[in-house]
Structures are given as structure tokens and as C-alpha cells.
């Protein structure tokens, strides 16, 4: 059997971009947002549509819909749908397909009208599905319930506090204030978070991500081809993914994020690196607790210690752990499947394109996403050299 670690640095991200606009866009459909992001990412890479031979997308009905809309006839297509981290998994799948010689230039696109709901697929669960039978009748509110259940148990088990969770929202807003594309840029305090309306205790409104419209796309190709393109390659050093459940009631644990432990272990093993080697972290923040549990699962701190880890604004600009430097799903944008935006920001940090929010000398970045409700996880370790 091949050792998965042999794929280290065989592929690179060569293009990354958002749609023309992010935010509240009732004048654009989800497919239009896909298309804008795809065109912008290809332009960023200096590639033409005709160079693309693989398309990856997620979250719609059939995966053929996106290449048709873009006018592309791929010979490799990926439609993995594991929630908001799907795009990080797509990067791993693209790398593997490129390594196997099945394709050379992979376009990964996302477009979602999460706020305005223009051109969005119909609802997900039939009334005889397990989710409808065994969860929805109890008034589960989707992510605000599933993520909150882990937060409450973590508070019980480890003494994690609402104040510690609020530290994440405050630090992330500081990063957003440095990003012209961020939706919310005014500073907030821990007291503001705790005074905001309770949505699903233990979550206050400011513990919750935004709901926006937007798109994002990245282009992956072989390391060899990457060297001849418009911008410096961002190499894929490590990737990992894992899915542990679908319904929150079926989570293996409510005290740790099992899928993320596995995805992180795989990614670090492929990269041959450890947490101390990472210069900047982009961790999907659907709620403040999510990056905290990622910090534990990925080994940046010990189990139960994420509350202490994020205290004192450690993850804010000027802190010693730059995290969610675009302003995150909490303050920059969150279309519903935010994972693509962790990759876009990591690529920009490693190219030195981030202006005021640039992490000086960043050479390595870690992107990590959640899918469903702690249901799946995917991790990427990126570098601008190797």
C-alpha cells in the first residue's frame, strides 16, 4: 500500500479568490457567486478556463451543475458534501487525483446565498429521515444546538467559561477591523458578547457566526506546473479528513472533537510538522467554541485547556497566536459553508498579500474546517516553501 505521506508537496494552490462582493447580495444567485469566484481564482492563477480539467463543488443537488454553469467539461469531478469543510477535503482529493495522473488543474468552487436565499437548493431532510424522526421533533436549531451541546459539556467537564468563549469573538473582531472585506469591523468587548442576546444557551448572539452571501474558489495543480504560474506557489504539505457522525446525538464524544483529532493527526503526519511549526491558523469559527475545540484536537493545547489558551487576547493581532486573520466566520463572512475562506486567507498570508493584517514572515499556515455539527473535519497544512 502506498504511504499517503508521499504526496507531501506534490501539489500547490496557485489561485484563490472570493466572489466580486461578499455580504448581503439579493441581486445575485448562488450560482452567480460560484461563477464570479471561479473566474477570479483562475485570473489570480494566471490560468484560462480551458486549462481546467477537474472541478470540485459541494452543497447542491448534482455536482454536474457547476461545471455546466461555468461551461467546463471536466474529466475528473468531485462532489463530496460533508458540510462546511468540504472544500478542504476537495483540496486533498484534488491532490490525490493529480498525484494519480487523473487530472492536472483542479478548480474548487463555492457559492452560497446563505442570507438572501437566491437560487438555493430546497430543504435537506425528508420527514422519514433519521434526522427528522429522532432530532427535529425536539426543536433542534441546527448548528446552534449541535455546537452548543459540546460547549455545555465542555464547560461541565473542564470549567470552560462564557468569558473565555467571548475572548475569541473579541480577538476575531480585531482582525476583521484590519480587513476591508469584513462585514463587521467595529471593536467589541467581552462584556458586549456576554450582554448580547442569548440565542441558544450557552451561546450569545456574538458567539455565533454571520449569515451572508458570497463565493470563494481555489485552484490546485501539480507542484511542477505551479512553478510557471502567475504567483508563487503555496505548497500542500499535509492534508487530513475524517467523518464521525451526522446527527449530533450520535457524536462519539461531547468533550472532544473526535473527527478533528484524526484529520489533524493525518495532516501533521504527512507534513512532518507539529503544532509549534505553524505560523498562522485559520480555524473554522461557526461559533466561538469551534476553534477552541480545534486548538485542543489539533494539539495546539492540551484537552480542556483551550479556555486558558485563548484568554488575554492571545489570538488577536499582536498576540502570540495569530488565528482567523481575515476576521473569521464571526466577523468577516459566513455563507453557510465557510471552509473555502480559510484556504483563501491562508494563501494570502503565505504570499504576503494581507496588508495591515499580514502576519510578518509567515511561512506555514494551517486551515481547519468543520462540517455538519462536529460531524466531519478536514485539515490542510500549507507553506510557501519546503
Amino acid at each position: 500500500m502506498n504511504d499517503f505521506r508521499r504526496m507531501r508537496a506534490t501539489a500547490a494552490i496557485v489561485g484563490a479568490a472570493e466572489s466580486d462582493e461578499l455580504g448581503r447580495l439579493p441581486h445575485k444567485s448562488a450560482l452567480a457567486l460560484h461563477m464570479e469566484a471561479a473566474a477570479n481564482a483562475l485570473a489570480d492563477a494566471g490560468l484560462a478556463k480551458s486549462d481546467v480539467d477537474a472541478v470540485f463543488c459541494s452543497g447542491r443537488t448534482m455536482a454536474n451543475e457547476i461545471p455546466e454553469y461555468l461551461g467546463i467539461r471536466p474529466r475528473f469531478i468531485g462532489g463530496t458534501q460533508i458540510g462546511g469543510c468540504s472544500f478542504l477535503a476537495h483540496v486533498e482529493h484534488a491532490m490525490a487525483a493529480i498525484h494519480a495522473g487523473l487530472c492536472e488543474v483542479a478548480l474548487i468552487t463555492h457559492g452560497e446565498s446563505g442570507h438572501s436565499r437566491v437560487g438555493m437548493p430546497a430543504g435537506r431532510w425528508g420527514d422519514d429521515s433519521p434526522t427528522f424522526q429522532f432530532e427535529l421533533p425536539y426543536g433542534t436549531m441546527g448548528p446552534a444546538t449541535g455546537y452548543g451541546l459540546m460547549a455545555r459539556r465542555h464547560m461541565h467537564r473542564f470549567g470552560t467559561t462564557s468569558e473565555q468563549m467571548a475572548e475569541v469573538a473579541v480577538a476575531t473582531r480585531k482582525w476583521a477591523s484590519l480587513n476591508p472585506k469584513a462585514m463587521h469591523r467595529d471593536p467589541i468587548t467581552v462584556a458586549d458578547v456576554l450582554a448580547s442576546k442569548v440565542i441558544s444557551w450557552p451561546f450569545h448572539l456574538l458567539d455565533c457566526c454571520l449569515v451572508t452571501d458570497g463565493g470563494g474558489a481555489v485552484v490546485v495543480t501539480s507542484a511542477e506546473r505551479a512553478r510557471d504560474l502567475a504567483k508563487a506557489p503555496v505548497y500542500l504539505l499535509g492534508t487530513g479528513e475524517c467523518a464521525s457522525h451526522q446527527m449530533p446525538s450520535q457524536m462519539p464524544s461531547f468533550e472532544q472533537w473526535d473527527a478533528a483529532i484524526e484529520s489533524g493527526r493525518r495532516a501533521f503526519a504527512m507534513a512532518g510538522l507539529g503544532p509549534a511549526d505553524i505560523d498562522v491558523a485559520e480555524l473554522y469559527d461557526a461559533f466561538t467554541i469551534v476553534p477552541m475545540l480545534a486548538l485542543e484536537a489539533l494539539g495546539f493545547c492540551a484537552p480542556g485547556e483551550s479556555g486558558a489558551f485563548v484568554s488575554g487576547q492571545r489570538t488577536a493581532p499582536g498576540g502570540d497566536f495569530p488565528m482567523n486573520t481575515n476576521g473569521g466566520g464571526l466577523s468577516y463572512t459566513h455563507t453557510g459553508m465557510y471552509g473555502i475562506f480559510t484556504i483563501i486567507e491562508a494563501v494570502r498570508q503565505l504570499r504576503g498579500e494581507c496588508g495591515e493584517r499580514q502576519v510578518a514572515g509567515a511561512r506555514t499556515a494551517l486551515c481547519h474546517g468543520t462540517g455538519g455539527q462536529w460531524s466531519a473535519a478536514a485539515t490542510l497544512i500549507l507553506a510557501n516553501g519546503f
Binding site: D127, P137, T145, L149, R152, S200
Partner: protein, 140 residues
């Protein structure tokens, strides 16, 4: 029947889950037990979710367990099953499996709701066919 008029989702059983819903209608909480690997499991499936054995049987659960974790939902959804604030709870049954439910018969105040507090099942009909298993604190 709950005093609150239920406007939430009403599930439709499949052949595999029908015995569970017939059980709750008769006031019994049924689980599946695998005679091969000697473990209970929930939700209902035709083969054991641990070992894929077909040698599985329906058994009546004790109806007792612990409040593993919960959230207090404040937002009145279009189809909220209870008036907010209401408690969405994960109950860990004495037999082992966990399930999603509501905790009822108690103030939704985190100070009075420690994780792992003992709970017991109560049955609340939401339609002629469907009765939900909800849980309440075990009286002291």
C-alpha cells in the same frame, strides 16, 4: 398530551423504525440489543450498528438515564415544539445509548441543571400516531 399545542415536525416512520414509534405510543421506550456483541444501540437499524450482526432484538429500556448535556433554546422557530425557552437535551440511557430529547418539568436555568443529573422518560403524544419520549428530573 402536552398542554402546549404542538406545531413542530411530525416524523414519518420507516419499516425499520416503526416498532420504536409503536412502542412510545404504548408508553414503552424500546431499544435494540445485539445478541452477537451484547450491546444496545439507538436509533433503530436493521443490523447492529456495532458489528453488523442481524441477530438483534427489541428490548424495553428502563427509561432512566442521565442528562449528558443540553442547550436552552430561546428562539421561537416557525415550528418550535415547546414554548421558548425550552431545553434540548442529550440523554445517556442507563443501557448505554444516547438520544436527543427535551428535558421537561423543570425551570430552564443552567444553575439548576448540572450535567449528569438523573432523569426519567415521560411520553407525550404529538399526533395520533407519534408519541415523543421526553425526560424529566427523577424526583428526589
Amino acid at each position: 398530551m402536552a398542554e402546549h399545542e404542538y406545531k413542530g415536525p411530525i416524523p414519518k416512520p420507516t419499516p425499520e423504525t416503526l416498532p420504536f414509534w409503536e412502542g412510545t405510543r404504548r408508553g414503552k421506550l424500546l431499544l435494540q440489543f445485539c445478541r452477537s456483541c451484547r450491546q444496545h444501540y439507538f436509533y433503530p437499524r436493521p443490523l447492529c450498528r456495532h458489528c453488523l450482526s442481524r441477530d438483534v432484538e427489541w428490548v424495553e429500556a428502563s427509561g432512566r438515564g442521565r442528562l449528558h448535556t443540553y442547550v436552552i433554546s430561546m428562539r421561537p422557530g416557525r415550528s418550535a415544539p415547546l414554548p421558548p425557552p425550552y431545553i434540548v437535551a442529550i440523554v445517556e440511557l442507563d443501557e448505554g445509548p444516547r438520544l436527543m430529547s427535551n428535558l421537561v418539568g423543570v425551570e430552564p436555568d443552567p444553575e439548576r441543571l448540572p450535567c449528569d443529573m438523573p432523569v426519567e422518560v415521560v411520553f407525550e403524544a404529538i399526533s395520533d400516531e407519534i408519541t415523543l419520549p421526553r425526560f424529566r428530573p427523577v424526583p428526589a
